[in-house]
Amino acid sequence: MTTRARPLALGLLALGLLLLAGCDAGATERLEAGEDGVFGVALEEPVAKPDVVLTDHHGEPFDLRAETDGELTLAFFGYASCPDICPVHMANLTSVFDRLPSTITDRINVLFVTTDPARDTPEALEVFMGSFDDDFVGLTGDLDDIVGLMTDLNLPRPVFEEPDDDGFYEVGHPAQVLAFLPDDDHAHYAYPWGTRQSDFTHDLRALVDGVAAARD
């Protein structure tokens, strides 16, 4: 994979979104649709889907490119022991899926990639994913592979906090959801924390057939 990391651009994007949100991470994000009619925040430069094999929450190998080839794919990076942002993101997406017909959701992949593979074994992820839509896929693997995947996607690396006396630790993780389009299997849009369910629902309908169809 030859794509150069552009952490600065994503950092500026995140900063801008933070300012828009009035520095209140709990605020409901009111995204404006771009010229292409899509609410997601367009990445400055689309990023190719990395070539990596992870392990899904059933313990089966998951070849990212092969499993999601030519399909709208949402990816979020978090960890199961995160009580706030991670489960709320996944709950939001589950509610969005509940509002869409299966003719659409069957053609969309939602991936929860752990930033904490030491604790998030396939078994732990199976428990976590059990709270959300049955078709969502939890992914774990070698930390190096996951960090490499995040770096390829210009995402901030996981930040591991010092364990407390009980051995519990928290992990900093990207707040946004990335959307890979079916047209070219590149990530084109980011959905910041707080994206409204109606905006997600609109975009998934629009993007399931690709960005070209969304522009029509």
Binding site: L10, G26, P87, R99, A124, G130, T195
Partner: protein
């Protein structure tokens, strides 16, 4: 009455009045806590508590600690998103300020009480007790509703607000709490 006796009486009255001042409910009652809820945890070891803490009065107050029998440890946290787009939680060791005239809302993606080392499985429909300690107002114990993981009214639905908290009525506690049922916010 001798001068000495008069002085002692004055001192005693002073002491009484100071004692009364310290117990004056207007000075030392905790703010009202409503809508306390925990989404059914997706992971077995951690959970978050959200709630609305009402106006603490003109002097303001600070939520300094919380405790519950259902978790080994309880911390006050805030989820923040750094400039690079990384989300993380910060432990608020100085507590959570409850602004005079306003109060504060603990909500998804923001301020919350975090339970670690869950010792009781929390399932939708359960209720458990949480004691909140305020620097000025003292302690209050509230009932926390365990609400569905998915479809809770704190999700980012069409209305996206945290109003419309129902009232369970008198549970004999200081804090009323909201209905735990989900709300379909979005016509899609």
């Amino acid at each position: 009455m001798t001068r000495l006796a008069a002085s002692l009486t004055a001192l005693a009255l002073l002491g009484l009045s100071l004692g009364c001042a310290a117990e004056d409910p207007g000075e030392a009652s905790p703010p009202e806590v409503t809508g306390a809820e925990t989404p059914e945890p997706a992971a077995p070891d951690v959970a978050a508590v959200y709630a609305t803490i009402g106006d603490p009065g003109p002097q303001g107050d600070t939520l300094v600690a919380a405790r519950t029998d259902v978790a080994a440890r309880v911390e006050l946290h805030e989820s923040v998103i750094d400039d690079d787009g990384s989300a993380r939680m910060v432990e608020l060791e100085d507590g959570i300020e409850v602004a005079a005239g306003e109060g504060v809302t603990l909500e998804r993606g923001g301020l919350h009480v975090m339970l670690m080392g869950l010792e009781t499985e929390l399932a939708e429909g359960d209720t458990y007790e949480l004691t909140l300690a305020f620097a000025r107002g003292g302690e209050v114990t509230v009932d926390v509703d365990v609400v569905p993981t998915v479809g809770g009214h704190g999700e980012h639905g069409e209305h996206g607000e945290h109003g419309d908290h129902g009232d369970h009525g008198d549970h004999g506690e200081h804090g009323d709490h909201g209905e735990g049922e989900g709300r379909d916010d979005d016509a899609g």
